[in-house]
Symmetry: C2
Subunit: 137 residues, 2 copies
DNA sequence: CCCTTTACTTGCATTATGCAAGTGCTATAA
DNA sequence: TTATAGCACTTGCATAATGCAAGTAAAGGG
C-alpha cells in the first residue's frame, strides 16, 4: 500500500481526515494510548471487533503515516510490538476533546465519571500527565 | 435512513467515530464553522468535491444526530439553510486541536500562519471568540 | 407558461469492508 | 527432529459504501 498519492486539498481538517479519518484508525490509537495495548492480538480483541484484514491494513497505513512504529518483541521474534510515535502521541489533545464531547452528548457513554470530572476540572494537567506516561513507556 | 441502531461499544471515542467518523462529515462541519456556508450548493462547491448523493446522505445523518438543523430560507422557500446546533458548535475545540495537529505535521498545510500563531499563543480565547461568532449568527 | 435555480434522486461502476478460512514464521515440548 | 501451538498476518468472496453522471421536483421570476 502506498501513502495517499495526493490530498484532496491542503486544508488541515482534510489532512487529518485523510490520515486517520475512518471508523477504525482512532480506535487503534485509543488502545495504544489508553489501554496500553501493543500487539496485534490485543487490538483484535477490542470490544468493537475489528476484522483481521482491516486491522492489518490500518496498522500498515498508520505506520506509513508515521503515527506508529513496529518492531519485534526481543523475547519472541514472532511477536510484534506497536508503539506510538510522537506524531501519534500528539493526537492526545484531540482525542481528549473528542472524549469530552462524547461524554457530554452521549447518554450511554462509558466514559468513567472520574475521568469526565478530571476532564472538566483540569484538562491541561490530565493531558500532560497522560503524555508523560506515554513518553516514558 | 435510520440513526445507527446500536453502537459497537459505549466508548466515547467510538461514539464520536460512529457519529462523524468518515471522510466527509467534518468537512461539512468545517464549512459551517469556518467558511460561513449554509446551503447545499455551497457545500457541493468545496475544494474537496463531495459528490451530491454523499452530501445529501451526510446532511441527513448530521441532522439525525442533532449536529445541524435544516430550514427553509424565508426569501426563497426552495432554498434550504443548514445551521449548526449547539452539539455541532461544541465540536469546535476538537476541530481546533485537529487543525493544530495537522498544522504541526503536514508540510503542505494550508493552515494560515496567523491562525496557526494564534492557535499556539492563545487557543482558549480563539475558541471562545469563534464560538461567540457562531452563536450570534 | 417557460426557464432557471436549488436541492436533491437514481442507476450503475468501482472501491472498501466484513467474514471465514488458510498460510508462514517462531518458540516450546516430545 | 518432529510435533504443536501461538501469533501475525493473507486470501477469497459476499456485502456495503462511495463516486460519477444523469435525471427529477418544487419554487420563483419573467
Amino acid at each position: 500500500m502506498k501513502p495517499t498519492p495526493q490530498y484532496r486539498s491542503d486544508c488541515p481538517i482534510n489532512y487529518a481526515l485523510e490520515t486517520f479519518g475512518d471508523k477504525w484508525s482512532l480506535l487503534i490509537i485509543r488502545d495504544l494510548i489508553f489501554q496500553g495495548k501493543k500487539n496485534y492480538g490485543e487490538f483484535l480483541n477490542a470490544e468493537e471487533k475489528i476484522s483481521t484484514n482491516i486491522l492489518a491494513n490500518r496498522l500498515e497505513k498508520l505506520e506509513l503515516e508515521g503515527l506508529i512504529s513496529k518492531s519485534s518483541d526481543p523475547d519472541n521474534h514472532a511477536k510484534k510490538v506497536y508503539r506510538l510515535s510522537s506524531k501519534g502521541i500528539d493526537l492526545l489533545p484531540m482525542l481528549i476533546e473528542m472524549m469530552a464531547w462524547s461524554a457530554q452528548y452521549d447518554q450511554h457513554t462509558g466514559c468513567p465519571v472520574e475521568f469526565s470530572n478530571q476532564l472538566k476540572a483540569d484538562k491541561q494537567s490530565l493531558i500532560a500527565q497522560l503524555k508523560q506516561q506515554l513518553i516514558k513507556s
